[in-house]
């Protein structure tokens, strides 16, 4: 199956953390090391929470359902955040099966 473009990520997409990405978490914020590109990324609390849930099996819509109930936040808000985070991380080359033409390899 061809990789999707970040801009094509929609609610039924099942994001998975890239295999070459190493995660360190400090005080609820993640630092990601993209070992392919030798780049570091710093995620805020929301992005960290989502990143840790990107298991390749759960769709963004399902994640939004779970988090909306857990955090008592409207599903629409959670889904919007999840889509934005997934697309951004996809652009940065951090998600599996997502094409990231802007993120060059080291």
């Amino acid at each position: 199956m061809a990789d999707v473009l970040p801009s094509d990520i929609v609610a039924d997409f099942r994001p998975a953390r890239g295999g070459a990405v190493f995660t360190v978490e400090l005080d609820g914020e993640a630092v990601l090391l993209d070992e392919d590109r030798n780049r570091l990324h710093h995620l805020n609390h929301t992005a960290t929470l989502l990143w840790l849930l990107f298991d390749g099996a759960t769709s963004l819509d399902e994640l939004a359902d779970e988090l909306s109930a857990e955090l008592a936040v409207p599903k629409g808000v959670v889904l919007s955040d999840a889509l934005a985070v997934a697309r951004h991380l996809g652009e940065e080359g951090l998600l599996a099966d997502v094409e990231s033409p802007g993120a060059e390899r080291a």
Binding site: F22, V24, L26, D27, E29, A30, L33, N38, H42, A106
Partner: protein, 283 residues
């Protein structure tokens, strides 16, 4: 050929071989705070240049590192080469940072070149803190413990007016040794200023901004980790190992950014942080 003693630079035993006794004695004075080692693994040699007997060359082993019109002109390149070799040889993670200590607790000052790191380090040592380094902070592998690297502080021309008492005066035939930079052994600031190994407790990222108000701002540990990684020597060569080591240390630290507009104000801000360290963190 005159030779310095063998000294331990981050567990790399080094000696210099030079042409003149006066230069050798001066190097011994500058490097006097490094512990003595038994046998050198690296020899930094100053000898006539390969293509011109009237010039001098710095060799590290058999590799030509620099050339100069006079022997003393190679002082700066020799010290820079020492810094590079020591950092490269260190088995753990080493960062481009100043370091000072108080009551056995280290305050790390990672910064880009020209950020005023050495100036701030010198100011803090003058104010009474112990000296770890103004260039390289080395973490012992697997633990939060800083290995001191007590090189002579390197003060650029822009900060000389802040430390007139530290101008070097050496018994050398010319002033090449202090034309572009002052190399100041820590004992010249205060006898016994060199610190022993100690754990890190504070992470402060200084940046000199001419005319700015001196301000200290707390930052999160994740942000601190990213900044510290950016200032780590050879990070890309073993990035995962380095990130794991650094994250283990940063978990225990409070992290800040320090905008430095005035040295005395910056020293005061750092001292306030040191004074506020919890008592259980001392010693």
């Amino acid at each position: 050929m005159p030779s310095t003693r063998v000294f331990d630079a981050l567990r790399l035993p080094v000696r210099f071989e030079v042409r003149s006794r006066a230069f050798g004695s001066y190097l011994d004075e500058l490097l006097g705070c490094f512990p003595t080692a038994l046998e050198a693994e690296s020899v930094f040699e100053v000898r006539p240049a390969p293509t011109d007997d009237d010039r001098y060359a710095l060799y590290i082993g058999e590799e030509l590192a620099a050339e100069g019109d006079r022997e003393v002109a190679l002082l700066g390149p020799a010290l820079q080469a020492l810094n590079a070799h020591a950092a490269r040889s260190w088995p753990g993670v080493a960062c481009h940072a100043g370091g000072v200590a108080h009551d056995g607790n280290a305050i790390l000052l990672p910064a880009d070149p020209e950020s005023g790191k050495s100036t701030l380090t010198a100011g803090l040592v003058r104010a009474g803190l112990q000296y770890l380094s103004d260039e390289t902070v080395a973490f012992r592998p697997g633990e939060n413990m800083i290995e001191p690297y007590p090189k002579p502080l390197s003060l650029d021309t822009g900060s000389w007016h802040l430390f007139p008492e530290l101008e070097p005066f050496a018994d050398l035939p010319d002033d090449d040794y202090k034309q572009d930079q002052w190399h100041v052994p820590p004992d010249a600031i205060r006898t016994g200023a060199a610190a022993g190994p100690c754990p890190a407790r504070l992470l402060v990222f200084p940046k000199y901004v001419d005319g700015a108000r001196t301000e200290l701002s707390p930052i999160g540990r994740a942000e601190g980790l990213v900044e510290l990684a950016r200032n780590t020597f050879s990070f890309n060569e073993r990035s995962r190992f380095a990130l794991e080591e650094l994250s283990r240390v940063v978990r225990e630290l409070d992290c800040y950014r320090l905008t430095v507009g005035n040295l005395d104000d910056a020293v005061a801000r750092v001292n306030d942080l040191v004074d506020a360290l919890p008592r259980f963190a001392h010693g």
